[in-house]
Symmetry: C2
Subunit: 296 residues, 2 copies
Amino acid sequence: MTPKGKLIPVGGAEDKGTDLEEGFIQRNNLNFFELGILGRIVAETKNTKSSKIEVITTASQIPEEVGENYLDAFEKLECENVGILDIRNREDATNPAFVERIKNCDAVMFSGGNQLRLTSIFGGTEFLRIIKQRYQEEEGFLVAGTSAGAMAMSNTMIYEGNAAYAHLKGSVKVTTGLALMQDVIFDSHFDKRGRFGRLAQAVACNPGCIGIGLGEDTGMLIRNGNKMEAIGSGMVIIIDGHDMRYSNIADLSDGRPISFENLRVHMLSKGNLYFLEERKFVENTRPETIAAELNR
Amino acid sequence: MTPKGKLIPVGGAEDKGTDLEEGFIQRNNLNFFELGILGRIVAETKNTKSSKIEVITTASQIPEEVGENYLDAFEKLECENVGILDIRNREDATNPAFVERIKNCDAVMFSGGNQLRLTSIFGGTEFLRIIKQRYQEEEGFLVAGTSAGAMAMSNTMIYEGNAAYAHLKGSVKVTTGLALMQDVIFDSHFDKRGRFGRLAQAVACNPGCIGIGLGEDTGMLIRNGNKMEAIGSGMVIIIDGHDMRYSNIADLSDGRPISFENLRVHMLSKGNLYFLEERKFVENTRPETIAAELNR
């Protein structure tokens, strides 16, 4: 079933306008706040600046600080109808007031932190069921998530994997994510933390999954669970294992170095598109051609 | 012209047997000293344990310490005919005693450090000309290099490029290397330092070059400038841009994020082969099949 809502996974460390306040000029010249990730998230919600956005800080160990940061950032974007869902355990997740709020918002935003907190706290809850149902059925509903919040979006979720050992079998730990999508694996902080090896290992285990490595301050706007548009200042790496030939991953014992032949890799930046079903890179970066491609 | 010698570029941090002394069990179970990189280098030299090996510490800022480490490590391998060429500037490089030694050794080993020291000190010298000529003409001659010593082996040499900004045009700095090989680009510490983006950018600039990302304690034994065998405990990433379709790298201004479509990527571990001219991954990992493949 084709979902009607939108998903925006973000690689973490999205610009929240704090550098701008300090007069700091970003080295990366696409990294200016007004056109950034959070602005785009607001623009993609049903009622833009007047949308009700609920920020879910559950992944974080410092939920109050994280919540304040998002309130500040959204306020700078003149988006003031924002709430914080400070859910810290499974009991909180069943709180009827929170469940009610999730039924009535226009968008949810999962903060960063530890993705295992997201799955272990929300897995099997009515709260999560409502988010997934609204994403499936409601055209205007948007689910965004950054860092841990992005990693948890698929049914396959990486939760651990030291980049330096990522070429050793078994060093990349995977479990069941929140499953808003299937057949993709998201990784975050992809540029800063050198995660090519770990995402490649996850893809090599089952090349039916497409690896999507999200750089910091970079995300994918995903429509209908299929058409993806790169947004933000950095890069997104797509790892497609469908044409993989040799791979030793099934035959090795744990801890031995893996090898494989023939991954297909694309690097996307702002405006590039990727169509998941066709496994197709589309280069168009002008707004009018993006719109035309997405409406095809 | 097909070179007759052997090249062994290594990704840095090759095992020197010091952990073994301390009774330390490596997490990576291929990483045991006796079968490691340095042992293989010795085995591949003309006269194995009695070969004369000259270690060139020029890339390092702490040449005495680095030299001592190699003397210790080779001694553990019962290889005691090892000299240190402590060349610190262009004047040292013209020292007739050093030039004479480079004419008479069986192998040279370039230490790690700063690859720009290698090119700026050896570029255009008789010392380098002799190494290149011997590598071209003498079947028994071996040139090894680790980290900076590996990066400098090709004519295209990366000398700078922060991994976190490697998706921005112009952030990867390249110059002319020692040119023992052509049409490849070596990168080192590939696992630990997250260098996929920078090597991909270097390849995208001219897809005629094959990117070879060497993990730590991992190398490639290269015969005839063509047939490569992965050695050591980690992984080697091959980035082949020949089938690259879209790329924006020519049209962007500096500092803007690059994008491209369709790199082909292989991951090799110990025993896997790669044939450069055919751009072909060969999986065979048993010694007898490796020998058969290499002799085809």
